[in-house]
Symmetry: C2
Subunit: 341 residues, 2 copies
């Protein structure tokens, strides 16, 4: 295990030589609203009221993916970065305290990198609610994020940054916590099926990918591996929060897809959600292994890395973790010196 | 004028040599919700109901900016790409029919490129409404976009793509119109002040910039030029839809900032909004000139370029237009062969 956390520096490109960068929207469908009443709207303060008809045809339930393709990738397979709930692909960009994020790391390590904004989040956009997105949007408060993402124990959050009491050894850049919260996006609890469908279209048409997923995003990564095993080369699950149950037979399709589960610190002491989540995910991992698949687990505190939060890709050792994931991919897929086929 | 549309190819880098790419959120403030009732939510189909408390502290009114910085920029000043209303920075990425967008063009032409998602749009996220964002979100229907963006005359839109009747010479990739509509994001009519404030923080802290703005975004570009003239090197206004009135004295600050206004086709025949907008903006441009400033105008049909839509950066001659803008910047700023200072 120590190998993966070898402190000797990796070969990272100081200049990223880009062949193409861009984006696309994928998935979703056309949908119609009718019979809603018109209303009067002023589009800027003091401007005259205009009649607004909310009816018509709309595109809904699409997702967004941004890609950076290298002149010469050193990995045979691009990574797809999948964010967690209430967040967007920004999770993998510059950290809240201004360090390079995982998107940049994997580019410098020689991978083409795709970054997703899942349905309803970020540049994917969102649709009228409750007509199209049923239920109400949910906004995560700072206190909930502080506790759920395990930056400090229950009761340690305070509106005044100077009075917050994070874990003494936390690796999250807590002085940039409010900056991090600017990345939050609202979520609905009702869009999982549409999200899985959009991801499937992306993975089917643009894969194969190495999936690197975080929290809620891991559920979609597991679903993609089950549904499209030929399009998924590996799954790296950063603190997965759930999975969609499948039969042992369906799980057998994942035998050829190495999985890696990574867990941070304070899983037992902090927010009670984790004491439910972790055993369930360990059960999932053991079922993968029982099928004969590779399903490795890194419990970071057990490996001597203390203080990692739920937001592993933003913690102060984010580069160490990214390098370890890269070394694991090289070992499991053996493609480090490969050229794009 | 013909010079700018010189068909001889520009020197564009086939490989974009990137020193740094990333993003940040900027602007906004912390705000508190209290006394809202709790409710019960199921976070996935069939899962048990959980109590959800919507109260707490939130970050609101921030914006998002993504940057790509070159190893060696050939322009002394980065461009900031500012999108229009109901859209996000995606406007400047890959076109809906899959061609390279303006973000990529200006990188290949040697500029560092920043791309904004203004307050409430895309990765900027949005805040609870009506508690924080007053009024209701507004969703633009396909029909409204088709007519307002001048892809065809009134009545030419149809839900069935095969039955739509675009202008025969339209340069918008109309077969990708539904794909384009996946880029739409909801908007509020009440966030202009917060948006201007966030843009000002970006331009003040990360400028100077060349501002390239589209439609509603031009209003914010004009405001930035007035408020922070030392941080704005030029303004390129793609079909501006409005401006915030200022005194002649305040306008004098813009004397040193060359402006370029670009207009597409069918401004008189199509959606009636344009017959109000164009004369107002011509008045604004003439006031700039009366102050002794450079305020050029390209009326594309008058220059022999027929069929351009409101979405100039997506039209089939988007590269020709980008190259012309680049040549104009070189002529007006004289920095084409300059190195980053």
């Amino acid at each position: 295990m120590a190998d993966f956390f070898d402190p000797s520096p990796l070969k990272l490109d100081p200049v990223i030589r880009v062949r193409r960068l861009g984006s696309l929207h994928i998935g979703g469908r056309s949908a119609r609203l009718s019979d809603l009443p018109t209303r009067q709207v002023s589009f800027s303060p003091g401007a005259p009221l205009m009649r607004l008809d909310p009816n018509g045809d709309f595109e809904i339930e699409q997702m967004y993916a941004q890609y950076v393709q290298l002149e010469q990738a050193r990995s045979a397979c691009p990574v797809l970065l999948m964010h967690g709930g209430g967040l967007s692909g920004v999770s993998y960009e510059t950290t809240p305290d201004g360090r390079s994020g995982w998107q940049e790391f994997f580019l410098r390590a020689g991978y083409d990198v795709w970054t997703a904004d899942a349905v309803e989040r970020g540049r994917a956009s969102w649709a009228r609610s409750p007509e199209f997105f049923s239920g109400e949007p949910i906004f995560r408060s700072k206190q909930e994020a502080w506790e759920l993402f395990r930056l400090g124990p229950a009761g340690s959050w305070h509106a005044d940054p100077a009075l917050r009491q994070p874990y003494k050894d936390t690796r999250f850049p807590v002085t940039a916590f409010d900056q991090f919260m600017k990345q939050s996006v609202p979520r609905w609890a009702t869009n999982d099926a549409a999200t899985a469908q959009a991801y499937a279209q992306l993975v089917r048409s643009r894969g194969p990918f190495v999936l690197i997923a975080h929290s809620q995003g891991c559920n979609f990564a597991f679903q993609m591996a089950c549904a499209l095993p030929d399009q998924v080369r590996a799954v790296v699950a950063l603190e997965p929060s759930g999975f969609t149950p499948v039969s042992d037979e369906a799980l057998g399709a994942l035998r050829q897809i190495p999985h890696l589960f990574i867990w941070g610190d304070y899983l037992e002491q902090a927010h009670p959600m984790w004491s439910q989540v972790v055993p369930r995910l360990q059960g999932w991992r053991e079922r993968l292994q029982a099928q004969g698949g590779v399903a490795d687990e890194w419990n970071l505190p057990a490996l001597g890395l203390r203080g990692n939060s739920h937001q592993l890709m933003m913690d102060d050792n984010s580069d160490v973790l990214a390098a370890a994931v890269h070394r694991w991919l090289v070992q499991r897929l053996g493609n480090s010196d490969g050229r794009r086929p």
